[in-house]
Subunit: 290 residues, 2 copies
């Protein structure tokens, strides 16, 4: 890898650039964004070496192109860069949904380039923007690659190394499996957090309510500070899987409500006990960030 | 205050004892718990001066009695201590629901003692037990007092000082208002977290799911590690208020799901944007713990 082009200079793109630098990457990092102020900030912070507003100019000569834009913008970016990519370039993305990204790619390229490797670093914060970037975001986190039949082994290796260098653990799985797992552990919690905060904010005494909220509420609702546009895109990009797991959750919530209503303490206690057991187990497998 | 008796030597009782010591309280702190190992641990950690298993012996001679047991156990504790309290003793509690505690007290005392001051420190962690206690839990947190018509001004002042000494901000409000506010910001989030984790844990590939969960999921579900018995009690102690706000949330979740289903991006984006605005605002009023 000699020239790394990052399209979409936000939190993830910025963290990747910083992590690559920290890992010793000496080549050029080109940042591309339609938001000129993000580019200026990234240049000022020393996160990128060169800034380009035009995708065509940004990808010229790049051997590795990372598309780090909201999933709803992937297709437009693919279309903009496709005619200008170097023949041997590896193209990867960081989208939170993978089937939608693959569909976007297939609609741009009549036959997918062997350098195309869909990817998703499972890391982030509720903050947005390149100004919030830091080099250790991916350390100890997982990055899922969902290679396609067209993907070349060399391209897969390049992207594996790109992420391994950031301190992440790289795993490979099928597109559909990725989308189901992420619907459950990421997309659904975000929907719940957004909905809860909005429900409370629309109550008459919402100011009172937030005033007496404590640490548990703060942690529970932290993800409701995430970027609304990005999460709007994810909702529709992974609609089927999200609706599936949301329906399940709504059924379970309904059953719990009925149990509280009829005074069925055993049922309620059993749910809480199973949940605590599972959550305590999760905390033993989740590695805290350094 | 010369002799402080804490009934229920768990996280909250332990933190209160440590905070009082740190604030310079020189009198005796008596701990009472039916769990002998909790008492031993509290003695070994220097959190209490004396341990009693019998509530009758524990409250004898105490001028301030704090009942720090799950709300479902309040009535039994009130009944056990009532005949043995000093005439001028101040009795307060730390229960997360207040109407139920007042009902429990009224069923034990035919006429409520003027020293009875219902209280709720809005602080805690997902951890339980006196071993997790630390002296700064209440610093910068709110403590709500819900005095009754029978409550004497002197008792109210004593409890106000008890909590102010821990670094908390003390506020006074009616019982019903407390229960509604807490149903929204604390009880409902706990129900959602417990339900989500249980829903996912019962899915076929739950191991896979938790394996790929990240920091957002960790924060969102932290409160699902809370004590199941304590939260079971809260569910039924504040049933009406919880069912009210849960119904509202379920309706909003249903409307969001329908919007995703029919592809109504504007609706979804509006919910997320309102939620982000409210959550960002909340984070400006929430003081992080030192």
């Amino acid at each position: 890898m000699d020239k790394l082009c990052i399209i979409g200079v936000g939190l993830i793109g910025g963290c990747l650039a910083l992590a690559q630098r920290q890992a010793g990457f000496r080549g050029e990092i080109v940042g591309c964004d339609r938001d000129g102020s993000a580019l200026e900030e990234a240049l000022a912070l020393g996160i990128i070496d060169r800034a380009e507003v035009e995708p065509a100019r940004a990808v010229a000569g790049a051997d590795t192109v990372v598309v780090a834009v909201p999933v709803g913008a992937m297709e437009a970016v693919f279309a903009a860069i496709a005619p200008h990519l170097d023949p041997g370039a590896v193209i990867t993305d960081v989208g939170s949904t993978k089937a939608s990204v693959v569909t976007a790619a297939r609609s741009v390229w009549s036959s997918l380039p062997p350098g195309f490797v869909p990817a998703h670093p499972i890391a982030g914060t509720e903050k947005s923007g390149v100004g919030a970037a830091f080099p250790t975001l991916f350390r100890g986190r997982k990055v899922i690659l969902t290679p396609l039949p067209e993907t070349s082994p060399a391209a897969l290796e390049r992207v594996r190394t790109l992420w391994r260098d950031t301190g992440a653990e790289v795993v490979v799985m099928p597109v559909a499996h990725h989308d189901e797992v992420l619907a459950a552990t990421s997309h659904l919690p975000h929907l719940l957090a957004f909905t809860l905060v909005d429900t409370l904010a629309r109550m008459d005494d919402s100011w009172e309510i937030f005033r007496y909220a404590a640490g548990g509420f703060r942690d529970f609702t932290r993800i409701a500070s995430s970027d609304p546009v990005m999460w709007h895109d994810i909702c529709f990009a992974n609609r089927e899987a999200i609706l599936g797991v949301l329906t399940r959750l709504e059924e379970d919530l309904d059953t719990l409500r009925a149990a509280i209503d009829r005074g069925d303490g055993e049922y309620v206690k059993a749910v809480f006990q199973r949940a605590k057991r599972a959550r305590d187990h999760f905390s033993t497998i989740f590695i805290e960030q350094p």
